[in-house]
Symmetry: none
Subunit: 232 residues, 2 copies
Amino acid sequence: MNKKYKLILVEDDSSLGYLLSEYLGMKNFEVVWAKTAEEAMLKTKSNAFDLAILDVMLPDMDGFELSQKIKGINPELPFLFLTARSLKIDVLKGFSMGAVDYLKKPIDEEELVVRINALLSRLTTSEEEEELASEYEMGDYILNMDNFELRHKGELIKLTGKEFDLLALLAKNQNQLCTHKEILTTIWDKNDYFNKKSLNVFVSHLRKHLGKDSRLSIVNVNRRGFMLRVEE
Amino acid sequence: MNKKYKLILVEDDSSLGYLLSEYLGMKNFEVVWAKTAEEAMLKTKSNAFDLAILDVMLPDMDGFELSQKIKGINPELPFLFLTARSLKIDVLKGFSMGAVDYLKKPIDEEELVVRINALLSRLTTSEEEEELASEYEMGDYILNMDNFELRHKGELIKLTGKEFDLLALLAKNQNQLCTHKEILTTIWDKNDYFNKKSLNVFVSHLRKHLGKDSRLSIVNVNRRGFMLRVEE
DNA sequence: CAAAAAGGTTAATGAAAGATTAATAGGATT
DNA sequence: AATCCTATTAATCTTTCATTAACCTTTTTG
């Protein structure tokens, strides 16, 4: 489920304003429609918008000027221009004022939506820095993906590159079968007889390394693959 | 003083490619021009780009497909499309693949530059937020980022520029692996065989400099990278 | 139950990667 | 122009580790 973004649309033309706000509403945006710059500023003061969409031609104020007023009210609020004036000088001016985009009318609604989504997803994902599991715990062992270390009760156990890769794959799928094919294609890139032989060697090495905790075992499922079993 | 951004331009048309790369070069960008998708992928592997500019029509591969390949090589690298095909379906497809923009030919160079600047200023300010400590303490050593000094129990140890850069990177990530790629692209800007050889020399120098505290060590993780380990 | 196939373990090997020291070259400074 | 400083390249030596091989044990199959 995605976050619902809140937009302010500043557009004096009634039919275009209505059309766009309806369309954006349908596309899961929360849209506030302002018909004048005055109105836009008031609403910006009292709402937490994620993006402002500004028409350049407004009855009471130039859109560029409005963008600066809005910046004064909420400097974090990104804005883009929507305009019939596609003069090159205007495009340059728009960006120089800090716009995140500049779209020429006639607007294609679908394109507008994908551009808005592209903008907002970039703006917000960089903030939300997702954390991907950097450690796997298996019995008394801890496999650290940041520094490629395996530790047993704090004691470092040296692993080679391939040993690590294999153990990481098994740990990621602990108590679940990893087929030969899956293992060989992800770690060796190639699924053939010789690499399968090599895999056996590495399984053997890992078993030695994991021997300090009897609850752990790498079990073979005949003709299918291997599984890291963690008991209890 | 602004950072010089590094771009890769993928464009098979010689005259347009030449024109754009010259123009962007004039505008203080470092531009690498690839004429084929193949070339683009190779260069992406060995360079730390800030943005990729992709033509949609390439001799050896579809630009959309190329964007996904590039994403596989460097998921952080933002890309935009440049195209003569302004079919609406293509615009939508471009954004759905993760593009940050989609520009229709004929390209106005000035507009391209302001769009690139708008994009990069937004993208990089959010990333580079990492708090920069002004000092890193490692065992008996103190690395001072303000005056570029390394001291051991007060005694100054002279470091060259590159030695300092490398140690700073390792210190920032102490007890965490720094991959070859990460090191080479941040300090050398380019990830190739010769720079990797150079890296070895610097690691060797740093080891000497850090030899006064046995709790510190720069460990190599075979085929992956280096890590500054600080014990207990 | 016997033969064949698959899996397990240990050791040998050779190519690739890493470490170290020295030589070289280019820029800056005096 | 001479000297110093530094990054890169070269040369050489050492270590690492994936693969291969050899041989043994277990499982499957007919």
